[in-house]
């Protein structure tokens, strides 16, 4: 699998559907994504029109996930009517460039609910143990 160049060599029709999406690079167990613009109908590893950013989903030593966005080009392609894949739309929502995606709110709510349930369970277990020892 060869890297797709950032300037892009992908050929495209003028009126074809374009999409801003991730391309999974990196290797097994170590994902790394390029954020690219390409024709919607194409496979992710085919030549892209343009690379507009990168996303490293694994936290670094300072516990941050790093995202680079070429906002000028992203706005250009959105203005041209490019679509967005759901993960890309979520990321752009988190970045503050677009409104926050509904799915992000869903994830946040589910995470909070799961955490609350886990806390309640831990508390219940703790009180049970205390009752047994007493």
């Amino acid at each position: 699998m060869s890297l797709s160049p950032a300037s892009g060599i992908g050929r495209f029709y003028k009126h074809s559907a374009k999409i801003i999406r991730f391309v999974r690079l990196g290797c097994t167990n170590r994902p790394f994504y390029h954020i690219v613009v390409m024709e919607r109908r194409k496979n992710q590893h085919q030549p892209v029109i343009e690379q507009v950013g990168s996303y490293d989903p694994m936290p670094n030593e300072n516990n941050e996930r790093l995202v680079a966005l070429n906002t000028e080009r992203i706005r250009f392609w959105l203005g041209k009517g490019a679509h967005m894949s759901e993960p890309a739309a979520e990321l752009l929502g988190i970045s503050g460039l677009l409104p926050v995606h509904p799915r992000t709110y869903m994830t946040a709510w589910r995470n909070r609910k799961a955490a609350a349930e886990a806390a309640a369970l831990a508390e219940a277990e703790g009180s049970q143990k205390a009752a047994e020892t007493a």
Binding site: N63, E64, L66, V67, L69, G96, V100, A108, N111, A115
Partner: protein
């Protein structure tokens, strides 16, 4: 790969040490108010540049870089003249001083708070704008925290991201160990590698960072004790150093060094600078103007030095020969007299701290000058120059 692993290990070690000693201790002398307006002032800049001097041998000396090659070429006199002017211009560029500005404070700038986004992820996200052609200062870096707050990144993170996506030549992603380890830094100072430290400091840090101020202040303080000011003369760090001493009222050691090396014009400029910074009601401008008329600026002096190599085939007058033998001209003696008067006035005032030392230096210089002048006049008389002139 093993090399990388080794470097990683060293850096991990450094982190441990940093935690134990929290980096370098802060220096004692710091700029209390914003020094930038005083430093960028045209008059101050001119004084500092003149004090730095322009010794071409030192500016274009061999450096520890891969390419020190010399290019040889035949040229006509006109081409050579053009080349000389370009050389001076390039030397002045190489002597550009790193600015002295106040430390930039880190302010928290929140863009939006969204409590509904709490716990959307386990770590925070850092977004960097990589739009083509933006300068580093205008590049936006924003952080989405785990609790859903979107804010501009701190200076620290911004610098890290800039270095990651748009690396600067020579700047390291991690703090170089000589700046984080007290012992290593002290060793650099003890070996008097001032220029090396300051050069690396300028590459690694921005002038508005606290580390830049802290480390440069430490170097200047050490330099003031070891008194090896000549190492920095004709480098880009001499100006900020002189400014530092003038600001913190400790110019006496530098002044003594200047008098001892017979750079009286620079000594006068240093005193004038300190008067200017501390707003001492004393008219130094008249003296400076007089001296400037009598003595050429460093660039002119360097150009004359370059041209002097050209005219060797021409017959020199006997007066010229006497001047080169003694090293001073008549106007130099006049300028020295004016400067000495000004310096003595400073030593007499309450601003001088090491009066005895300075007085001695001035006295020695005066005797030397007197001897030279007597010799000069004697030689002139012996060769019958005076009759020609009158």
């Amino acid at each position: 790969m093993s090399l990388f692993r080794h470097i990683r290990k060293l850096n991990a070690l450094q982190n441990v040490r940093q935690l134990s000693s929290a980096g370098l201790k802060s220096s004692t002398l710091q700029y209390a108010t914003d020094p930038q307006p005083q430093f960028t002032d045209a008059e101050t800049q001119q004084l500092l540049q003149s004090m730095t001097q322009l010794q071409l041998d030192k500016v274009f000396r061999k450096r520890t870089v891969p390419d020190n090659s010399v290019h040889t070429q035949f040229m006509t006199t006109a081409q050579l003249e053009k080349e000389f002017l370009q050389t001076i211009e390039k030397a002045q560029q190489l002597l550009q001083m790193p600015p002295v500005v106040k430390i930039k404070e880190d302010t928290e700038r929140i863009i939006s708070k969204d409590p509904a986004l709490k716990d959307f992820a386990t770590t925070k996200y850092v977004f960097t704008d990589i739009t083509f052609g933006l300068p580093q200062s205008e590049r936006k870096v924003v952080v989405r925290d785990v609790d859903g707050t979107l804010s501009y990144a701190t200076l620290d993170i911004t610098k890290r991201m800039n270095q990651l996506y748009f690396p600067l030549d020579g700047r390291k992603f991690y703090t170089p160990r000589m700046f984080s380890d007290e012992q290593l830094f002290q060793r650099c100072l003890d070996e008097h590698k001032y220029e090396f430290i300051l050069d690396r400091l300028t590459v690694q840090y921005e002038p508005y960072e606290a580390e830049f101020h802290n480390i440069s202040a430490k170097v200047f303080e050490h330099l003031n004790e070891s008194k090896q000011f000549d190492q920095l003369r004709s480098t880009r760090h001499f100006g900020p150093m002189a400014f530092f001493y003038a600001w913190h009222r400790c110019i006496d050691d530098l002044l003594y060094d200047m008098i001892r090396r017979d750079y009286l014009l620079n000594a006068v400029q240093l005193i004038a600078l300190s008067y200017k910074i501390h707003k001492v009601p004393l008219d130094y401008q008249a003296t400076l103007r007089q001296l400037e008329e009598l003595q050429p600026s460093p660039a002119v002096k360097a150009l004359a030095e370059l041209r002097s190599g050209l005219r060797q085939h021409q017959a020199k007058g006997i007066e010229n020969e006497i001047q080169t033998a003694i090293g001073k001209t008549e106007t130099d003696f006049q300028a020295d007299e004016i400067s000495l008067r000004f310096i003595e006035q400073y030593i007499g005032s309450e601003h001088a701290l090491k009066k005895v030392q300075l007085e001695l230096a001035v006295q020695t210089l005066k005797e030397l000058n007197l001897e030279k002048q007597q010799l000069y006049e004697g030689l002139k008389k012996a060769h019958g120059v005076q009759q020609q002139a009158s």
